[in-house]
């Protein structure tokens, strides 16, 4: 009875295949859930590690500017302030710069030039952040101290009100320098998102505007930008998320000082650089305070990146960097 045997074999094989399929599916699902576990774990573990400070001091931890390992008192305001200020400077510089780059790469540059220039600018994102830090400390800080800081001090520093931001000794180190280095680091992220979405604008819209006699600038400002507004904002938030969490580059050029100063030319500290600088010497409550800072950083960047991805969700996704 060859047919009966065959049917029996087929049945057995089908059952085995079904089992294997189920097992395979289970393994795959577990792997995918690990991504969720990593994010959730990062949030919960830093919350747990920083519990003594987060639940012990509560709001006082956020608002106090006193960071004193000797008296074991910790307030996070100085690092929070440094993180926010340097990221704001970075965004203020990087957004117009990235917009210019995207405009150049989509409308102005000759076709043969576009790919090589775009690749080169994306390479800026591949350079490890510690290299930015070394370059910042050994090359850019002296450059700022010798050329930019004195110039700012004698020009913008003389102005009323805003002058206070730009007055100070030419140290080179400081919030402004860190902001500029961060700006260079996030330009490739923002400009590549902008370039990508600018390319999604339907040609007939642009061509209609050109046919009506618009200049290139008018097409970009009145047609392309309104059409892509949402994704452009998403790209900016993506850059902001990067700037907030960046560690090594900032650590080298910020100066690690907890003293408050209105001037952007003075040293400061940031959440990430406080952790990097002090963690290995910290014990007890000090260490707990640093982990609590990590928790704050994670929550803030998570929210910023959530907004970014939400704005960008309609966009076609690109290869693994970005």
């Amino acid at each position: 009875m060859p047919t009966a045997i065959a049917i029996e074999t087929i049945c057995r094989r089908n059952a085995a295949d079904a089992l294997h399929d189920k097992l395979f599916r289970g393994v795959l699902r577990v792997c995918a859930l690990l991504v969720l576990a990593a994010l959730l774990g990062a949030a919960l573990s830093t919350l747990w590690g920083g519990r003594e400070v987060l639940f012990g001091d509560g709001w006082h931890f956020l608002t106090s500017a006193q960071w004193n390992p000797v008296e074991n008192r910790y307030g996070a305001w100085a690092p929070i302030y440094g993180t926010l200020v340097t990221s704001c400077i970075a965004i203020l510089i990087a957004v117009p710069l990235s917009f210019g780059i995207a405009l150049f790469l989509t409308e102005i540059a000759p076709l043969w030039l576009r790919t090589p220039v775009a690749t080169a600018i994306e390479l800026l994102a591949a350079i490890p952040s510690i290299i930015y830090g070394m370059w910042g400390l050994f090359v850019f800080v002296p450059f700022m101290a010798n050329h930019i800081d004195p110039l700012l001090d004698s020009s913008l520093g003389r102005l009323p009100l805003v002058g206070a931001l730009f007055r100070g000794p030419p140290l080179g180190l400081g919030l402004l320098t860190a902001g500029i280095v961060l700006a260079i680091m996030i330009v490739p992220f923002i400009s590549s998102v902008m370039r990508e979405v600018f390319q999604t604008v339907p040609a007939r819209l642009k061509e209609s505007a050109y046919a009506l006699g618009s200049t290139t600038w008018e097409v970009v400002w009145d047609i392309i930008l309104p059409y892509t507004r949402q994704a452009v904002i998403g790209g900016i938030f993506l850059g902001l998320g990067r700037a907030l969490g960046e560690t090594m580059a900032v650590t080298f050029v910020l100066g690690n000082a907890y003293d408050f100063s209105t001037s952007l030319l003075m040293p400061g500290t940031s959440i990430s650089s406080s952790i990097a600088n002090e963690f290995n010497e910290a014990v007890g409550l000090h260490r707990s305070a640093l982990i609590a800072l990590g928790f704050l950083l994670f929550v803030v960047t998570f929210v910023v990146l959530l907004i970014a991805r939400w704005m960008l969700r309609s966009l076609k996704r690109k290869e693994g960097n970005a």
Binding site: H20, R25, L36, A38, L97, P128, W135, L137, T215
Partner: protein, 289 residues
């Protein structure tokens, strides 16, 4: 009147184009500046001692143990995150397409992609270094394994995303043909789809390696660092980025020279990897469209 309007629009256009071109030029200038500084300062300290001596010799030494450490930890990290990442990516592309869970994981994976690496370091410190310290009564604290786990968390989202996308690029006729022959879905995924998307998946692994090889922040409090040669995954281990960090903070200029040499090696390695991945990817795209 209309002539002046026309002139004003024209001027605005020219100014905007000049500014946009200078923005692109400025970015290229910074790239060239950073690369030039790294190469010109790094080249001087590259020599035989850099590769043969360990960091314990300080300014008379090299980075031999840091290079070995980096190599071990990077490979361990890839060994940890590549299988998990590829399987997770396959889940998103083949099993969870259009489902809510799949969309959520894809969305959160993109967030993990840009999450601050220093927080991932803290995460591994809390869940791995602290328990290890408690379990071994302090004989094992920081370890190469902890460093690799932290690095793996940085590489994971890159691999998940690339695998997911590469599998989605495989034409569905291939799936239908295989399924109509009666092949179970796991065989289809492993033997047909992953083979078809092979070079794309490899691109993802290379990109992940490029990304994690330059990371410093998560290693500081997981692998810590070591001035001697170690091979044990449970020992503190040196790495090139962490050694660069330590040397840069040193006041001795001779140490800075060694740090620049390390920086040059790392930059060359990372840039070569990302260019290689790019080349692989562009070939892949032309062959599959």
């Amino acid at each position: 009147m209309s002539a002046s309007v026309y002139r004003r629009r024209e001027t605005k256009n020219v100014v905007a184009q000049i500014l946009a071109s200078s923005a692109a030029l400025l970015a290229l200038v910074f790239l060239a500046w950073i690369l030039w500084v790294t190469v010109s300062r790094g080249v001087h300290a590259i020599g035989v001692p850099l590769f043969t001596r360990i960091t314990a010799y300080a300014d008379q030494g090299g980075l031999a143990n840091a290079m070995v450490g980096s190599l071990i930890m990077d490979l361990m990290a890839i060994a940890l995150c590549a299988p998990v990442g590829v399987l997770a990516g396959a889940h998103l592309a083949e099993y969870a397409r259009g489902t809510r869970l799949g969309e959520t994981i894809r969305f959160l994976n993109d967030i993990l992609l840009s999450a601050p690496s220093i927080v991932l370091g803290l995460f591994v410190y809390v869940i791995f270094v602290l328990p290890m310290t408690a379990l071994t009564n302090g004989t094992t604290t920081f370890s190469a394994l902890a460093g690799s786990i932290a690095l793996a968390l940085i590489g994971l989202p890159v691999i998940v995303r690339t695998t997911d996308e590469m599998l989605q690029l495989v034409p569905s006729t291939l799936r239908e043909a295989a399924l109509s022959l009666g092949i179970p879905q796991w065989k289809l995924t492993v033997q047909v789809l992953m083979r078809a998307a092979g070079s794309g998946i490899l691109t993802g692994v290379l990109l992940a390696l490029a990304r994690l090889a330059g990371e410093t922040a998560p290693l500081l409090f997981t692998a810590f660092g070591n001035n001697y040669m170690t091979y044990s995954p449970l020992a503190k281990m040196a790495s090139v980025p962490a050694a660069i960090y330590q040397y840069t903070n040193d006041p001795n200029p001779a140490m800075h020279a060694i740090a620049w040499a390390g920086a040059l090696l790392i930059t060359l390695f990372v840039l070569a990897l990302s260019l290689l991945a790019r080349a692989l990817f562009s070939r892949k795209k032309t062959s599959h469209d």
